[in-house]
């Protein structure tokens, strides 16, 4: 199984965070979606961004990769400001957005070729890597079905393939495990783990705690647009389960047994 893995960290880059967010603010009409968020993602880490629905995870990641202009603050990807020098920053990053359509009237192979050529990669490399990715992710090298007709899980997989194609140094994945069947999820986990052990950095959002607990080296928890906690998984978790920490931080209620007694 051939997979391109990014080159090891370049000399002179030591200590640079793979992603560095400084005081990000985003307001939608009157609602404060993200409020003064600062976060450093160390290079080589597997970083999980946790939060309940509507916490501002997608908004944060969209601002980080240059899809959404923040009202205030800075986003640095591998040392490049995504709003000041977008070309350099974006060329080093692979993105899997959530809730965003793909060019879904293309077939899977066509979509991959499109991404590769947009990244200004040579056609032979695009072909070679596309075949590998389609093969590994079991999407079919000669599958001419349009992406719009793919199942939800297949859409996630082709989106991930597009993000991986140019062998980025940093992967930003919004809900990569949503709607993915367990077999594919295991495959995606393997690929991501190998990517990180090869020197890449992954930032992904999720509300599935088990996945985060199993994969991540670092965790950040947000709710209501505020970063509540962040750091290495072991520090965050302490001697409790991540679930308990999460529910406590987010402020959810735990069933005591007295309510819904008729069930």
């Amino acid at each position: 199984m051939y997979m391109s893995i990014p080159a090891q960290r370049l000399p002179g880059e030591g200590g640079t965070a793979a992603m560095s967010l400084r005081g990000l603010v985003k307001r939608f009409d009157a609602r404060l979606a993200v409020s003064d968020l600062s976060l450093d993602v160390p290079a080589g880490s597997f970083y999980g961004l946790l939060g309940p629905n509507g916490a501002g995870k997608t908004t944060t990641l969209s601002m980080a990769v240059g899809l959404l202009r923040p009202d205030a603050g800075q986003a640095l990807l591998l040392g490049y400001d995504v709003w000041q020098s977008p070309a350099e920053a974006k060329s080093l990053v692979g993105v899997l957005p959530d809730g965003v359509r793909m060019f879904d009237r293309l077939s899977g192979p066509e979509l991959l070729a499109y991404h590769g050529l947009l990244r200004a990669m040579p056609a032979e490399v695009v072909d070679q890597r596309s075949r590998d990715l389609l093969d590994v992710l079991e999407l079919g090298v000669d599958n001419r079905t349009l992406v719009v007709d793919y199942s939800a899980g297949m859409k996630k997989k082709i989106g991930l393939a597009c993000a991986l194609l140019h062998a980025p140094r940093l992967l930003v994945l919004d809900e990569p495990f949503e709607a993915v069947d367990p077999v594919s999820a295991a495959l995606i986990r393997d690929i991501l783990q190998r990517y990180v052990s090869g020197g890449g950095t992954v930032v992904f959002s999720s509300h599935v705690l088990e996945v985060v607990e199993r994969l991540c080296s670092h965790v950040a928890i947000m709710s209501d647009g505020v970063l509540r906690m962040h750091g290495p998984l072991a520090t965050i978790r302490g001697d409790r389960s991540l679930q308990d920490v999460f529910v406590q931080v987010v402020g959810g209620r735990v069933a005591t047994g007295s309510e819904l007694a008729w069930l």
């Binding site: 899809l67 965003v100 192979p109 991959l112 499109y114 050529l117 695009v126 001419r144 719009v148």
Partner: protein
């Protein structure tokens, strides 16, 4: 143990419908304005309809009523037949699929949905308008005729509602698959595009028709289910009281048949909600050894970012149904506009120029077509100028051959002057270039989200006058901007036949270069804003 569903009355449906209407309006001034506008329109239509239908009575002309009523009635029923097609997906508040999980007997559901449909504005307006027929029947034939006509219009309303509900439900089932929806969108575009030609054809036919054959058709229509309910009162007037029960029976049997069809499709519409995702599109696997890059690109495309962007855009003009619909409309208009004037006053050249100005309108909301998929280009950091050039190039790939066709049609048919074709083509190119120059910045500046293409008939919803205004302005501007070339064509005479093409081409290209430069720079500054604008909420 299954719980026997308690008998549910139909009132909850009525209350549900009223509440949905009310909640839909809450705190949304635009919606309230739309609702008021709809109510006023319905009221005006009702008054106008009443007046129209009461006129034969006031004029004491049974003969005109006998022609008017069956045709108007048929038009009404046809309107009710079309209504769900036009508004399908806009009012899905009482979509049968929503009730799939509730323990409701089918009879209750049918009754409830039918009553809910009866209390809407369209039903009230229809009833009020057709009440004018009762007025006429009363004036012509006294209370007996009025009573018969009253029964008739009530049955007619039932027929209208049954038709529209049955069609809605049948469509909900038929349009589950994407392919069927795409096909419906294209068909609708073809129908819409051919309305103009059809209208002319109809006018021509009407000019030749004579009155007695119209009366004969009206009489026959009066015995069909669509005309029968509206002619019973006139039968009493004419002394054919025996026809009343027969016609009412015809209508009621039709209503019964429709309800039966509806109840069958309703079941499928409800069940389909759960199984819609299970049908997989045909996994077309053709192995011809071409790599992904060759699958995306055309043989002649450069293997670069520009090539990829343009190839994707070209495929989208064909594969995305709304774009293909726009192309079809343009093609029909392009061939039809010069043709109509060719047989008329001879202003074909002038009208042909309009085609050059209409053509760029397809790009006025070019970012809206693909919606949030633009995020891909944004995340890879495509420069604005490259984006604009590739999109215009893909559009020109379809449009320039069409313009050539228009020039040929105009030259051969309209003027009978084949030698004017190159100059005509040059004029069209100049107009197209100026139009592009105006439309491209508009497409960046005034991009807006189109509704999700899950409903083929929601083509125009969401595009109000305010959104259409910039592209209309661009169209007028294109003609004004190409005025120097048009004037030159008029003034230079025979020389123009030789230099028209190069001058038009150069003029169009220069205008396009300016516009693309402006649009590219604008896009560079506004990329995330464009993405936010075209993302459907």
């Amino acid at each position: 143990m299954a719980v026997t569903p308690a008998p549910v009355s139909i009132w909850p449906f009525v209350r549900l419908k009223l509440r949905i209407t009310r909640n839909g309006l809450r705190g949304r001034p635009a919606r309230i304005a739309m609702f008021v506008l709809g109510a006023v329109t319905a009221g005006l239509l009702a008054i106008f309809g009443y007046a129209a239908f009461a006129t034969p009575g006031l004029l004491d002309s049974a003969r005109s009523a006998e022609v008017l009523f069956p045709f108007a009635g048929a038009a009404l029923v046809f309107g009710w037949f079309l209504m769900p097609l036009l508004f399908f997906g806009i009012d899905d508040s009482l979509d049968p699929a929503q009730f799939a999980l509730l323990p409701l007997a089918r009879r209750t559901l049918l009754g409830g949905l039918a009553v809910a449909a009866l209390i809407g504005l369209p039903a009230l307006a229809t009833l009020a308008a057709t009440a004018g027929m009762v007025d006429t029947a009363a004036r012509l034939g006294g209370p007996g005729a009025a009573l018969a006509q009253l029964c008739g219009i009530v049955c007619g309303l039932l027929l209208c509602v049954a038709v529209s509900r049955a069609v809605t439900s049948a469509f909900a089932t038929a349009l589950r698959s994407r392919r069927a929806r795409d096909l419906a969108t294209i068909l609708l575009a073809v129908v819409a595009a051919s309305l103009g030609p059809a209208q002319l054809l109809l006018l021509g036919l009407l000019n030749q028709a004579n009155w007695s054959s119209v009366e004969l058709i009206a009489e026959v229509a009066g015995w069909t289910p669509v005309g029968a309910p509206y002619t019973v009162g006139l039968d009493v007037v004419a002394g054919r009281a025996w026809a009343v029960p027969v016609k009412l029976l015809i209508v009621l049997v039709s209503v019964g048949g429709l309800l039966w069809w509806w109840s069958r499709t309703l079941e499928r519409a409800m069940a389909g909600a759960a199984t819609a995702g299970s049908r997989r599109g045909s996994t077309a696997t053709r192995s011809d050894g071409r790599g992904p890059v060759d699958q995306l690109l055309f043989r002649w495309s450069p293997r670069s970012r520009f090539g990829a962007l343009m190839a994707r855009e070209t495929r989208y003009w064909w594969r995305e149904t709304r774009r293909r619909a726009a192309l079809i409309t343009l093609a029909v208009a392009g061939v039809f506009l010069p043709l109509t004037s060719a047989f008329g006053s001879g202003g074909a050249r002038g009208l042909a120029v309009v085609v050059g100005a209409i053509a760029p309108i397809g790009l006025a909301n070019q970012f809206g077509y693909e919606g949030s998929a633009y995020a891909t280009n944004l995340a890879t950091g495509i420069p604005g100028r490259l984006e604009v050039h590739s999109r215009a190039a893909a559009h020109a790939l379809f449009t320039v051959p069409l313009l050539l066709l228009v020039a040929v049609v105009t030259g051969l048919l309209a003027g009978g002057r084949p030698e004017s074709i190159p100059a005509q083509f040059g004029t069209l190119l100049a107009t197209y270039g100026v139009g592009l120059a105006l439309v491209l910045p508009v497409s960046v500046r005034a991009a807006y989200a189109l509704p999700d293409p899950t409903t083929p008939f929601a083509l125009s919803s969401g595009g109000g006058l305010g959104k259409a205004l910039p592209s209309l302005g661009a169209m007028v501007g294109a003609i004004l901007g190409a005025l120097p070339v048009l004037l030159a064509g008029g003034l230079l005479g025979p020389v123009w036949l030789w230099i028209g093409l190069p001058i038009g081409l150069a003029y169009g290209l220069a205008a396009y270069a300016l516009g693309a430069r402006l649009a590219g720079g604008l896009l560079d500054r506004r990329m995330p804003e464009v993405l936010a604008a075209v993302t459907a909420r």
